[in-house]
Symmetry: C2
Subunit: 214 residues, 2 copies
């Protein structure tokens, strides 16, 4: 299995930002110590997605942080990213795994134990589980209980990142859970100081999550 | 180079159709003798795109017609399609070629001689050139002259399909040109009898295009 540190998983959202603003936020997050970056673009053409991935990878490489591409395994391969993340309506995990081979990371979103077990069976290296809280980045959100997250982590044995509306003020719901870390979009994207926000969130996770940093 | 018969290249558009209606149209087109099929989906999620590609491939396989996937090389690979087609804002030709290897088809859209030469340089097997006429399937259309198409075919030596608003009543503009065939969307998609329309268009191309069927 490919090892992945989920302590602070930064999932991007470039919507409504200039490219330079966006890249500055990514840079700040990396300087602040995020442990994994996912580039998530739902509207961009293939070429624009690839070009942005190449630019983000220059930043993540400089900080030795793996870059994950949302959904498009072809973009992940073309950009030589560390891996791909697939949701339930994206490319299936087995297809992503077959395309990426055994050395790249495949992550999957799971909201239920059966989804999580299927993802593991098909070759997922880690799971994003949520949404723990309602989120502004997805229109329709199904809330996943922390108990479900714990059950998923226990039954799959995979590293799990909690996702969905998480920020410094509500993170305590996950203290003592089986989450290995958190995935955040807005908390960092919308921060006036992404570097400081990332740094503080990471500290908070490391000090309060039993499995962080593994 | 992978050989490809561009005589009648059917490019699909599932917008506003039920899946069963859509698949019936594809089946009719195949029965009518289209020589190549491209599945083009701009709105579908990765999973829905893959599932539809698998269903279309059952039809094209039964008629021994190669299936090309628009833009997404990962879907093309996951569905084991014959190849991928990329436009100027999609994955670059070189990336598609690298991902698909030497045995699959990579097609590219070109509107100018420099674009066409770059596509050939990067590994394209054929070119779609147009739009010859305004088209209802793309919002913004730049018209390409038949003389440009001839220049592209002459300078690249690649097989060229003329595309853009083509139907039985305006095909004569391409008689005597260097086009090896035509790519059509609406002419077949919107036909009440896709089989008969495809059959008649194919006959018209074969009888009037010097390079058809090569």
């Amino acid at each position: 299995m490919r090892r992945v540190n989920l302590t602070l998983y930064f999932v991007t959202d470039s919507t409504g930002r200039s490219e330079s603003e966006f890249l500055e936020t990514v840079r700040g997050a990396c300087e602040g110590g995020v442990t994994l970056v996912q580039l998530r673009e739902k509207e961009k053409s293939g070429l624009a997605y690839l070009r942005l991935a190449e630019k983000v990878k220059q930043i993540t490489d400089a900080h030795d942080i793996p870059l994950i591409i949302d959904d498009r395994a072809d973009i992940a391969l073309a950009a030589d990213a560390a891996g791909v993340h697939v949701g339930q309506s994206d490319l299936p995990v087995y297809a992503a795994r077959r395309l990426l081979g055994g050395h790249k990371i495949v992550g999957a979103t799971a909201k239920t134990v059966p989804q999580a077990l299927a993802a593991r069976e098909q070759g997922a290296d880690y799971l994003g589980v949520g949404a723990i809280y309602p989120t502004t980045t997805k229109v329709v959100t199904v809330i996943t209980a922390v108990s479900t997250l714990n059950e998923i982590a226990a039954q799959t044995g995979l590293p799990v990142a909690a996702i969905g509306g998480l920020n410094a003020s509500n993170l305590h719901a996950l203290y003592g859970s089986r989450a290995g870390g958190i995935a955040v979009v807005s908390a960092i994207m919308n921060s006036a100081d992404p570097r400081e926000t990332a740094s503080a969130l990471k500290r908070q996770v490391l000090e309060n999550f039993g499995r962080a940093g593994l």
